[in-house]
Symmetry: C2
Subunit: 333 residues, 2 copies
């Protein structure tokens, strides 16, 4: 089955993906930080029994100590688990085979349910998350306060306990130096935008995560509507910036050179791949270069260091990976 991230969804040339994350805790147990090993096992087993008996769902349950080191890092690289969870030996992960739904058990909260979809699909992703949430809440007693909402370990999640986010590819706005202004604008609207890979003004691959900050005193629907509308505004601004950028011959030249290097390099670091493919994606979007965005989507996951190690089934050196990565990219393009 194709992984979810290979597809290119709505506004998929700019909105790479949508993610909905719900945090839930079972009333009878303390938060994982205060929970005994036996308690954690009980929580994991309870959720497992609910999910794996459901017909029509392809959930796969794996205790965290069954993954190899490169497998967990690869899961984190694909945003299926948090970097913290990757370091954990207790807890378990429930995953569908298209990797669209992932459920971390006994991370910061008992249940961290995440749904990912390609493109801009807040409503659709929320609907799936809501369905799974209902499946669980029918049989589990969630920690919930009438006044506050869902109770979570970290107070910033109290209320809806929902974090909705979109991954945006914004190379033109980045190049025009508009990102810090935009970041301050969206923060006034209850959202936060940050580099998806690495900190600083120009994150790797020009990919940003835009997410809601407020979970308290707001409904899920309001939060999603707000995120949807600001996402569409950013998309429109990126399109305008890209159009004016591509009127500059030297920017078009950069796009083509990036393509030339990707198609020819024999050694390619992950960072360089991200920078070059950002330019190529920009060129594809502006009809300068003809290339299927699905190819770039898939590569952006498959060329990550730990994912390469996990697929190869061994710990390659950085130099070996650079060589393999270059071959993968050449073959794909």
């Amino acid at each position: 089955m194709n992984k979810w991230y290979i597809e290119s969804g709505e506004q998929g040339d700019i909105v790479l993906s949508t993610r909905i994350r719900l945090a839930r805790n079972i009333d009878e147990y303390p938060f994982p930080a205060k929970l005994t090993a036996e308690g954690k096992t009980e929580v994991c087993e309870k959720v497992r029994n609910i999910l794996l008996t459901r017909k029509g769902w392809n959930f796969c349950y794996t205790p965290m100590d069954k993954f190899s080191k490169s497998q967990v890092i690869s899961l984190a690289e694909r945003h299926l688990i948090s970097p913290d969870f990757a370091m954990q030996k207790d807890g378990a992960l429930v995953l569908t085979d298209d990797e669209a739904i992932s459920i971390m058990l006994c991370e910061e909260d008992h249940i961290r349910l995440q749904v990912m979809m390609s493109g801009l699909a807040l409503k659709e992703a929320y609907s799936v998350a809501d369905t799974v949430d209902n499946m669980l809440s029918e049989e589990l007693n969630f920690a919930f306060d009438e006044r506050i909402g869902f109770l979570t370990r970290c107070p910033t999640n109290l209320g809806t306990a929902m974090r909705a986010s979109v991954m945006l590819h914004l190379p033109a706005l980045t190049r025009c130096g508009q990102m810090s202004k935009l970041a301050s604008t969206v923060s006034k609207l209850g959202l936060v935008i940050r580099g998806a890979h690495g900190e600083g003004s120009a994150p790797m691959g020009d990919i940003y995560q835009l997410s809601n900050q407020i979970t308290l005193g707001i409904s899920e629907q309001e939060a999603l509507d707000n995120l949807q509308s600001i996402t569409l505004q950013l998309v429109a601004q990126e399109r305008a910036a890209a159009k004016s950028l591509m009127e500059n011959a030297s920017e078009v030249d950069k796009v083509w050179r990036a393509m030339g290097i990707l198609k020819n390099a024999r050694l390619l670091s992950c960072d360089e791949f991200m920078s070059l493919s950002s330019l190529v994606r920009l060129g594809a979007r502006e009809n300068i270069i003809e290339i299927d965005l699905k190819t770039l989507n898939e590569l952006s996951y498959s060329v990550q260091p730990a994912t390469i190690n996990a697929v190869e089934g061994k710990d390659l050196t950085a130099a070996q990976r650079d060589e393999l990565r270059a071959t993968m990219v050449r073959n794909a393009l």
Copy 2:
């Protein structure tokens, strides 16, 4: 008719070309520097009458004041005339249509006869130069001293008045930092090696000119034999250095990236073309990249700034040339 430089001659992957230059003066006239305008015209006419009446030769005679500015710079770019001669309004140029033979009239000496051939062809080029020299000497009284040899304006040319040179592409020796040691070695052997384009330790395109320094007290044959033998030694050293360089994955990577940029860039300066094509030529020579060296040979002349202007018949801006150059290179590769 194909220009001489498109062909790839003996050792042509490293020895780009061979040049023989003979300086001659007519006894009855002072050197051009001391010659009146009428005298110069007489000298030019005398030579013209000898050469243009010969059957089987395709000499074309053009007074220097008939060339446009971009035409003369283009001639200098192709090494058919000296940069000084390009600035001159008096004098004339005799050229065969394959541009293999060029004769500057009333440059520093009355007659500067030059024969160029592709690859390593000292004997062949000298033989052609000798034939033309004989044609002229049958009817002209050359300034010649029994003890010294041919008399020339500059004392460094006295004797044979012959300058023989080869253009060598030495990217591997350059990258290994061996050029300054080699330069000092060949100077002890009566030769000089210098960057063909630009000064410094790494000349543009890694192209060097190796030429004889001594014209006095040595026969033409001795000078040619010496140059031939040292050229072959440098070629062997370059081959060995290239072989060991290409065992390094990051050097191979550079070769492919250079090819990728040449095939994709939309803007390309002449300097960058020279650097990148040097790497591609190295890759072709080491069987890493498959490409016809003739294509690179032709491009290295056709993408020069004044040659582009001359072909286009107008003074393009640098930016316009960079765009046109990139298109020429893409189409050729």
